[in-house]
Structure formats: structure tokens, C-alpha cells
Point group: D2
Chain length 411, copies 4
Amino acid sequence: MTNKRKIINDPVHGFIAIAHPLVFDLLEHPYMQRLRNIKQVALGHYVYPGATHSRFQHALGALHLLSLAIDTLRLKGHTISPDEAEAAAAAILLHDVGHGPFSHALEHSLAEGVEHETLSRLLMHQLNAQFGGRLSLAIEIFEDRYHKRFLHQLISSQIDVDRLDYLKRDSFYTGVTEGSIGSERIIKMLNVVDDQLVVEAKGIYSVEKFLIARRLMYWQVYMHKTVVAAEQTLIQMLRRARAIAQEGEQLDASPALRFFLQNRITAHQFEQGGASGPLARFVLLDDADIMVAAKQWMSHPDVALAMLAQMLVHRRLPAIDLKNIPFEAEQIEQHRRQLCVAQPAIAPHTDYFVFSKALSIRAYQPGNESIKILHNDGRLVDVAEASDILSTGALSNEAKKYILCYPKRLV
Amino acid sequence: MTNKRKIINDPVHGFIAIAHPLVFDLLEHPYMQRLRNIKQVALGHYVYPGATHSRFQHALGALHLLSLAIDTLRLKGHTISPDEAEAAAAAILLHDVGHGPFSHALEHSLAEGVEHETLSRLLMHQLNAQFGGRLSLAIEIFEDRYHKRFLHQLISSQIDVDRLDYLKRDSFYTGVTEGSIGSERIIKMLNVVDDQLVVEAKGIYSVEKFLIARRLMYWQVYMHKTVVAAEQTLIQMLRRARAIAQEGEQLDASPALRFFLQNRITAHQFEQGGASGPLARFVLLDDADIMVAAKQWMSHPDVALAMLAQMLVHRRLPAIDLKNIPFEAEQIEQHRRQLCVAQPAIAPHTDYFVFSKALSIRAYQPGNESIKILHNDGRLVDVAEASDILSTGALSNEAKKYILCYPKRLV
Amino acid sequence: MTNKRKIINDPVHGFIAIAHPLVFDLLEHPYMQRLRNIKQVALGHYVYPGATHSRFQHALGALHLLSLAIDTLRLKGHTISPDEAEAAAAAILLHDVGHGPFSHALEHSLAEGVEHETLSRLLMHQLNAQFGGRLSLAIEIFEDRYHKRFLHQLISSQIDVDRLDYLKRDSFYTGVTEGSIGSERIIKMLNVVDDQLVVEAKGIYSVEKFLIARRLMYWQVYMHKTVVAAEQTLIQMLRRARAIAQEGEQLDASPALRFFLQNRITAHQFEQGGASGPLARFVLLDDADIMVAAKQWMSHPDVALAMLAQMLVHRRLPAIDLKNIPFEAEQIEQHRRQLCVAQPAIAPHTDYFVFSKALSIRAYQPGNESIKILHNDGRLVDVAEASDILSTGALSNEAKKYILCYPKRLV
Amino acid sequence: MTNKRKIINDPVHGFIAIAHPLVFDLLEHPYMQRLRNIKQVALGHYVYPGATHSRFQHALGALHLLSLAIDTLRLKGHTISPDEAEAAAAAILLHDVGHGPFSHALEHSLAEGVEHETLSRLLMHQLNAQFGGRLSLAIEIFEDRYHKRFLHQLISSQIDVDRLDYLKRDSFYTGVTEGSIGSERIIKMLNVVDDQLVVEAKGIYSVEKFLIARRLMYWQVYMHKTVVAAEQTLIQMLRRARAIAQEGEQLDASPALRFFLQNRITAHQFEQGGASGPLARFVLLDDADIMVAAKQWMSHPDVALAMLAQMLVHRRLPAIDLKNIPFEAEQIEQHRRQLCVAQPAIAPHTDYFVFSKALSIRAYQPGNESIKILHNDGRLVDVAEASDILSTGALSNEAKKYILCYPKRLV
């Protein structure tokens, strides 16, 4: 019999203990192993070379924080049974298992309209069948059907261990040290009231800092204009490849990738497909499939595809303008006309090269799923109200910026 | 001849180079060496045991950041002569030289109404005489009389290298990692417009985070209720000692400390005193004088003094209540009455043991000396306006809390 | 004109400045960009999930340390011209450009008998042609033909900036904090005597620690038995794929990878091939080609290939025994026989699954290229002699261990 | 009732939990609080300004590592009762409680021939009386009279939690990052065989690194020649003060310090003294008493005392020569003669200013109390034998250096 206790080294949190045999088995499953090959911040490493960390590491980190949170809540007198703890651990480990290549960047490019959460859920159900029902409680928690709602909120809410890990981890690996947050300290401030997760009053400054750090990471990393330009190039390349594939051409690509280029798979098809359906192909995909295909497409006869692939592979990114208001159609048109003149061969495809995109974030969403501050007198107050420094309106408004991309040199 | 280039190890910034011979000489001067014995965060180590760092280290750290800032500004095309750089370095090194024992905690206890800046200025003038005028430019910069005002602003403004060092350092030594800021990144965003220090637009998120982190450090460290209680105990002890001293008793204390207990020295007296005046005694004082005296006072016949000294030395801190509104006089009176009953011997002195105090901070001060954000189009905007998440009003309002201290056990 | 000054964030060293326009251009070249997709420690991340860092980052880190070293030597009075500094920078940036997929792990699998240094050299010459001779001095330094030999030694010797970066970086990313070394401190101790790089006497403890840390990293990371087992599985898979390819089958693989499976390319062929020869195909390869092919091979009809690919992709690693003396042939045979019984289909190929391998390291190599300690009286002493704690013999002897791998479960 | 669970922030280890009420009470006791005012590395901060950390922090850190070690051993199946765990925790917390001002630096200056361990033991017995015998088991463990000897070895041996904390902590605070060790990793490798503490075989590289790091810290920090010069100045100043005090003069000093200057207290007297004996005075002493006295002595009429006090307070340290062989008597004499000429007033006291001192360390002591490596086959081997890189002889030999100190400027 194999020893299923394991300690894993993590540069962010130190030693991570795998305490539950079920979790150990999930970790060894090909579905989890696949996440090793999906970068957490997609093309973020094109700006921050250190940020090559994977979804696999993030899942481990979130698992670690979850177990700290459970320890904390137990110390404060809340009962969490071993089964509940194991289920929550399984749920957090699998929460991102449905991510495809380059995570969010391609979320709607390979299978339009299908969220990664949907796929995570489908894969969890499939695993539950394989594991003889041992994941049923984990799924209940994941789908927020379990009465101890705080277990779901630990896994998925505005102050869940998912965010508490990824902000700290992305800050660590990008070297944007300012984005770091006091994950452990916030966890020590957690408590439960009426089955809801809350933060004790003395944690308010930590929560404020967490919200501000999150915002900083959005603009400085996830929506850094160069990162967005790189990811848009990736999206446009796949869009062009799909257009070609759907005209019937057998594009050079791994079979799994080719399948998704040739077919438009809906959420419904994923659900109905069974064990050999689209889901079985999806779990064969990771970042490498895209990059290897791109390298081959660099010499494809379709000039647009070839050019996009070269831009991506050689990191020859477009020029980017950034504004707080939308770009005027005329300005976009002008860039397209210049491109037509400079490169007549891609004239029919200028929209792949010149385009505008709105970036928006909302730091915080008040209302039902808000972060609740627990005052010493027992009152629960939404953090947007409890904070006297964060502008409530601003917090919950969408902040928007606009970028305009166009080829750098028109030779 | 001694080699006056020196590299000093600093756990916060790594290696700190002493580039100017003048700075080397200042560093070796007894006035600077004295700062080794003054803790940066006074009694902060009563809550955060790691925070034993000194004003001396902080001065070195600020010096280091100043030289990074000057490198950055030069790279951006601003001319800063070697003399100006040396003068700014001397000024930042000496900016806190006038701090007395326990820094801010005792700022008004030993010499009422005398700010440490006043004493820093006086000592800088005295040093200038000793150094044959080599500090004249440093003093001009320090006193904001030099036309390149940004040099003064680097040393003293709302985003000066003083704050950029102490927030990072205090966060490091307390272990309150959330308070850490991206000092180096902010420095790389600095620029100069019309001789004024500004922050480039892309640095706005870092500045927001800096303001939030500063606020967090205030409530979590500098104004942590237990830290305040400890410092108030220290203040009350000295108040009682002074009362006794001024009745003519020769209290056990070092001669320098006894001098300040027996006499009320005004800023004017400091200025007029000459080389052997109060300033000469002041520079002999540091944290140790207070603590050694306190140990002796633990067995003083005056019960109030003895008790306060024991509370301080043995860290037997008072109980503390905390509220957002002032405590009612009646509540305070009640605690005093209970104390009278429990310890009749200190009945005449209950105000040393039961007292309320308002704590207040203002995260940011708009107006003349505000932090200016430089937009790409050249506009300068106050950060309170430029930030869409910080509540402008809240930022510049005073946040207030109130504590009520009273003896823990009344045996 | 593009601004060719650039600052890059690195989680290990902080901010890295790109000071030379030539270096900036090299960094943007596809040959350097390719290194983003080659993991520094190959399959090390199968044991240390954090270790996904790339050769690209390492090259940047080594570049950074080189510039620190040059600053240090200049401060100590050694003349290094701007051209020399630029050339050394170019040389360190390109020192690993000839690494193929999974770096050392596959060094002899794709092109037998061709060292990565050979390919680095060939690529540097090719780049020199592209850059109109601007790399000539860099190549002279790289090939150790330049009279200031210390420049070569900074780039390639037993205490070069290559090692000073990779030990620190690998320690950082694996989380094996003990492997960390004082790179900056060692650099500050460097000096030059008769054009040779030496370490000043007070640096002896740092050098001892560097040698011990290197050894620790070898056994704990690079030669960790599970890492070796994973890499051996990778090697065996490619060996099997090559065997099949050479029987004429068109294996699923990217064209570049297929080329190297079908042909045995010698160093000579690389050299003679010209711009469209094997080198042009080589620079299209990275880790992703191997992993995507492996995923396809999981369902290949050749049972041996399919099984090896599954083991690699799903991280189903073989069992591993470890000893200080070689395994006996009989023991290996026994495992093979058991495998034949359990899985008759792979009976002809048991040597792909059951094999032994010797691991060996030599911490230090005395002699010509040794680390020289410079004593205060001017004497130069080999570190193996200068150290009174390191066992000279042991240091320079090969330390050997043996592993035996065989399939875990024989169903 | 006060809540006696407490979490303390530590910049080195993160959060430290105080799990046992007894430990909480000890922590609050004046004997432990006194350690806040004793610097862990005495005058180390004269070279490494960051190193102002106290014995109090170190005690907390060692406590934290002890609890990790106990968790580890329990996980490996060794029974450790709650009482044993509490007793071990109390013992480690108090292990240094007998340190006087400036720790080792003054160990034999205030009370000749009295080790700090003796005083720790006496104070523990006194505390045991105060705590009604609750410390009996702690004392048994401390004095190595308990049958589970590994508990004593965790607290006091060549790889105890004392060293595992102070090396890491001193490295952290000095900024000498190379001295850092993998304390947590080593702890995870601990095991128990026949009631003896051992290290599992795979931990051998970590132990080697620990020994090398310790050696590095000795020469780079604890025995840094400038640190030694500063501490010798301190020792000579106290020697001179004692000489004067014993001639009957009432020196300016706190009563407790004056007592130890006027009397020569033996270990026997400490033991017999009872509650009001020398021990009661000893526990009033800390670093501050010495520094405040030194400031007063700067203007003492005895030229030698005044000069030594000035050197110490103003950090005007002597010149230092360093050699691997003893200095010749003639050389020392020559410096003394020059001093006589330059400063006739101190002619009778030149031995306070010109002196030589041997520094020696032994990295490791084989034999009875050696570090035992547990091989997979159950054999126990001394680390000096098990390591193939550390030179066994060298490890256990004393390494010696010699310094010669003399005044810098003879005006």
C-alpha cells in the first residue's frame, strides 16, 4: 500500500501537507496533472518573465489555505466534521479543473459560451462516478447546496481561498510585491455567523488592503496593456484558424485542438457527450497544444494566420494605445486603411490586426454575496459600508479602460 | 587615511552604499550613533516583539532610497549635481537626529511643545558649524529654501523617502507583512515638473496602495490599542516623575534625564542655550535612560510612581476599552472611584491610571503639499482626485477612535 | 524609434535593467524568446511544483549578476570598457541559447553526442552574421580567446554568474530555501589578478557555503530520485519513438520533432547545414513539442511507446530503488522477467521499463580552472586548500549513487 | 478570566501560537520580560545595524520550533504526553533566562566564572517555587534527568531548536542571508531511536549545510573582528570600572550594576543568596544599565575609564589586526609604548587599550553528544562520518584566529 500522506514544497506557503487520502488520489488523477501545463496567468509571462506558474500550484496553494481556514474556524468553536473538511478540500482542489489552455484568455475561444465553471462541474461529476460517489458532498458544497454555506463561501466568494492564494501567488511570481496580501492574517480573522462566512471587525484594514491589492494586480498584471495585446493576438490567431478549419481545411494541430477548431461545441453538447464526447477531448488540451500549433502555422499559406502566429510565437506584439474613453471608429478605420496599403495581402483581414477592446474591472460587488464585517457587538455590516476610506460607489462601479491595437511596423 | 566608502548590510534593502565622504563622517558622529539606542516604533515591540529596530537603521534606509530616487530622476533627464546629491543625502540622514527617547511617544513629555523637527534643525546647524559650513546646502534643502523644491519633497512630503522607508521597515520588523509597500516601484515612478516632485500616472495604483498600507500600519501598529496603552503608561510615569522632581526631590535618574525632569525647557531655551545648554544634555538621552530610571523607580516610596514604573517595566499594562465615540465622563469617574476603594494610597493620583485618549489619523492631506499625479498629457492632478477608488472625503478627514485605560486587577 | 532601455521585474533579483541596445535586440530575437518555453529544471516540477521557471528568466538573472560583477570590478579599479561590458552581457545572455527541449534531460536524446554548448556557439555565430559582426567580441569572450580571461570566467567557470543565478533561482522556485546562496555577497568579493577572476580571502566562507549548497541542490533537486525517474521515462519514450520512426513510420509529432526522430544529426551536420539545415529546425523545438507528441502517443498501437507516454503525461512514475553501489544484473533481470509475465505484449521491450542508472556529481574540480582565493598578502590559493573544513579529497571526488527503476504495479 | 491562548507575530516564523497556559504565564513573568532588553547578538549591531533583536524574540522562536518538532515526532508515532510537551515548552522558553547584559559578551565580566546556564537553572528553580511545582518536569528535562532524553536534546544539543532558531534569526536580522538554514526542513527530518534524537538519512545535506552556515555566522557575525573589538572595549571598560569601584569609589551606575562592580559574586553565593541575594539584583540588570552608566563615565576623571566609555558609546572602535598565528609580545609592547608616548595620562593602563585575543570555534563536537544520522537500514552514524564532504578532522578541530587591538589615532 502506498503512503498517501504527502508533504509538498511550495515557494509561496512553505510546506503543504496533503492530509486526506481522497485528496491525494485526486491530485494523482490525470485531470489534475493536466493543470501542470496550464499557466495561471496565461501570457502574463510575456511582461513578467517570472510568472510561469501553473494552475496546479495554485490549486495546491488554495488547498493549503483552506485547511488553515478550517483550523481557525474549529478553534473558534465551529464544528466541521472530518468528512466536511475532506469534501471542502476536494472541492477547492477541483475548482479550476475545467480550465482550458491559457485559462481565462481563451475561455470563450475554444468553446464559445462555455464557462470554465461549467466544465469543472461536469468533470467533478465524472470523477464522482469514477470514485464511487466519494465526491458527492464535495459537489454539494461546490454547487452551494450544502446547508453550511460558509464551506461554499470559503471556496467561492469575494474573499475565498481561491483569491487569497492567487493574489499572493501571482504577486510572488510576477515580482509585483505590492500585490501581496496577508492571506494568513485574513484567514485568522474569519468567523461564521448563521452559517455565513464573515470577517471580524479588526480585520477591516486587511480586507481594505486585499481589495486595493486585487485592483492593483488587475491593472498592473492581468490587464496590463501588453499582456492584453498578447492575449488578443492569441485570440485572433485562433479565430483565424477556426475560420480556415471551418472551410474544411485540415490544419496542422493536435487532434484534440483540431476537433475544437472544426466544431462549435456548446455547453449542452459537453453535458450530453458522455465519456467519449467533447469532454474527453477537452481534457487532452493544454497550453502546449496551442503553442506547438502556432509554431507550425507560422509558415501557413494564409498570410493572416501566418502573421498572427509569428506575432505570438516571436512576441512581436502590436502597438497599443490606451484611453479612458472608447476609441472613435474613424481612428480604427484609419489604422486599417494604412494596413491595407502596407500589406495588401491581408486587406480582407484587417480586423484581426486592428481592433479595440474595453477592459473593465469591478473591485467589489456589494449585495447578497458581499464581504460581511462582524462588529464586536454582533452587527454584520457590508465592507463597502464598514470601510470609511473606500469610496462605496467606486468600489462597486465598473472601472473601464480602452485599448486600441495595431501592427507596429508597416513595412 | 581611512577609506570612506562603505557598504552596510540591511535586512530590508540589502546592501546600502555610503557614497559621499561627508555622509560617512556624519554617520560616525555621536549625534547619529545615538539613534542606535532609540527604537523606531517606541513600545511597538510590546505587541510585536520583532520590532526592536532603531532610528539609526531607518536613517540608513531612507538614505538608500534617496539615492535610488536621485538615480531615477537623473535617468529621466533631470540635472542633479554631485553637491546637491550629497546635500540631500546629508539632509535625509539627519532628518530625525532631533528625536528623543522613544521618538514620538515622548515627544512632548520631556520638553513640552518642542517638536523633534525643531531639534533636528538646531542640531544640523550645530553640526554645520563643526563641519565648517559643509552642511549649508543640506540645511537649505531641509528648510525648503532651495529652489529645486523636489529635493526637499524627497525628504519631507506625503510621499517622501522617510515614509517609503519606515512603512516598509516597520512592516518588515513587526511581521505585519500587509503593511509592506513597493518602495522601489514608487521611486521608479517619480518625476519632476516645474521643480516639484510628481508621480507618473501609471504609479497611481501603487500610491493608492501606499496610502492604504500606511493607514493599516497606523491602526495595526502605531495606534494598536495595546501599544498606545503602553506608551500612555510611559507618559504618565514621566509625568509623575516630573511632578516629584519639581517638588525638589533628587530622583534616581541619569543626570541628563534628571535635568529634563527638573526643568521645563522651551524651544527658545534650546535655541539660546549654546554648546553647553539644554541641547548638550538632550543629545545624551536615549531609550535606555528612561528604562533604567523606571527600574529604579519601581521601589520608590511614591506609590503612584512605583506602580507606573512596575507596569511599564514588567509590561503589566492597563485594561483598554476602545470606541468610535468619546467615553462619557461618568464612566471614567466610575473607574477612578473603584480604584480609590481598591488602592486608597493612590487616591489622589487616579488620573495617572484611569484616563481616556483620542487617537486620530488623517491618511492624506490634500492641498498645497499634496501628492501630484502626472498624466500622460501633462496634466497634474491631486491623487485624491485622480484615484477613483479612494473616497476623497474620507482620505482627508480625520479618522478618530477613543480608548479608555484603567488598571486591570484591583486587588 | 523604440526606447531600448527597459526594466524587467524579476522575483529573484528585483528590477533588472537592460542597459545595452544590443542586449535589448538579442532579447527580442526569436532565438532568445524560444527559451521562454524551456523549463530550467526540466521535470523538476514533477517533485517541486513551483519549479516551472524558464531558461529565459535564468538568462536575464545571469545578465543582472554580470552587470553587478562588472560594477564591482570597476569600483576596485579594473578597467572594463563599455564595449567589453556589452560583449560580456551579450555572451551571458546567449550562453544557453543552444539548449533544446528539457535542457540537460534530453541533451543527448535528440541529437546524440551534440553538447548544448556547441549549439550555443553555432547560434551565436549565426546571430553575429545577422547583426553585422556586432557579436564578434562576445564570441571571443565566450570561446575564451580574449586576453582579459576574467570576462570569460565570469560567464563560464566554477563560480560564474551562471551558477550564481541558477542556484539561487532554482532554490527560490523549488522552495528548497537551503539551496539559496549569497550571490550578491560573493560578487562583491570578486577581484581580478593577472586577468584571472579570484575571490578575496574574506569570501572563503561564502564560497564554502556555495559549494555545499550546490551539492545539496544536486541531490535534493537535480538528481532527486523521482526527478531522475521522470526524466528517464522521458528519455526512454523518445528512444522508443526514434526506434519506431527509423523503421519508417510517420509518427504524430511536430515537423521539427519528427525530423530529429527520423534522422541522426551529428555536430558536423549541424555545422555544415547552413541557414536551412538542422539548426533551423532545432530552433523551432521546445518542451511543448515533446509534451504534445507524448499526449498523442498515449494511444499509439505500439504498446511500449503508449505506455511510456502515459507514464510521462499522467506522472505515473516507475518505482525507484536507490543504493550507493551498483545493482546486480540478476536483480534487474528478475524485474524484467516479472514484467514479461505480467505484460507479455511488451516482453521484447523490457529494457525501456526496467533499467539502472548511475548518478554522480563532483562538487568541485581543482586544477587549472579552480576557484582561487586571494589572501591579503597577495597569495592565490585553490579553495580546496584554503578551506579548512571541506575535505579536499571529497570535494573533488565523484560522489556516486545508483537507481533502479521498474514499473510500480504489474497488473 | 483572561484568555491565555495567544498568537504572536514574528517576522522570522510568521505566527507563533502560545498553546499552554503555563507558557503564557511564564512569558508574562518579569524574568522573561527582562529578556526584551538584552540584545541577542550583543554589539553585533555595531557592524550589522539591523541586528537589534532580543533574547525575548529568540526564546519565542525556539518555542515555536519546539512545537513543530513535537508535532513531527508525534506524527512519526512517538508518544509525547501533553504534560511532557508543556514541560519541554517551558524549558525552552526559560533556557536563556539566566543571560545577563549583552549575553555572552559580558558572561564573565559581571560575575566571574558563573555561566549563564547556572543562572538559568537557579531562576528556573525559583520560578518553580513561585509556580507551586508546575515546573518540576521542565527542570528534569532541562537538567537531562528525564528518561526521554530526546526532549532534553531538542532543547540542548548540537542540533537543538535553540541553534535552529538563532542561526535563522541572526541571519535574518543581520541581513547575512547566507547564514540562513532550513530549520523547518531539518525538523521534519528528526526522529527518535532509543529515546535519542536522530536525523533521518535524507537530511544529511541539510545538516551539512547547517554546520557550514553556523561556521559562516561565527566568522562573519559573532566573531567579526569589528564586533569582537567593540565587545572587548565593553569588557575593558567594565574591568576598569570594577577596578575603580573596588578601590571604594561610588561609581555612577544603577544600584544593581554598582553591586556587581563592587562585589565579586561566585556561583556559590548566587545559590545561597536566597530571594533577596545577588540573584534578585541580577534580574534587574539588562543592556540599558551598562549603556547608561557608560554615558555617565564618559566624563569620569579617570582618563582610562572615560576614554573606554567614549570609545564604546561613540563607537570609536580600536584598530584591529587579524592573523592566523598569535601576535608576538614585542609587537604588542610596541603599540603600548607608542600609546604611552602619545597619551602619558593612561600610561599605567595601556593594557586596557592594547591587547590581543584568540578567537576560536569548533564547528562540531563528535562523541557522546554528536549528531546521529539514521540510515534506512537502521544504522546510526555520527554525522562527521556520514558526511563525505566535510573533513572529519577539520570539523572537530578548533579553528583559531588572533586579533590585536590598539587605539586608532594617537593624537
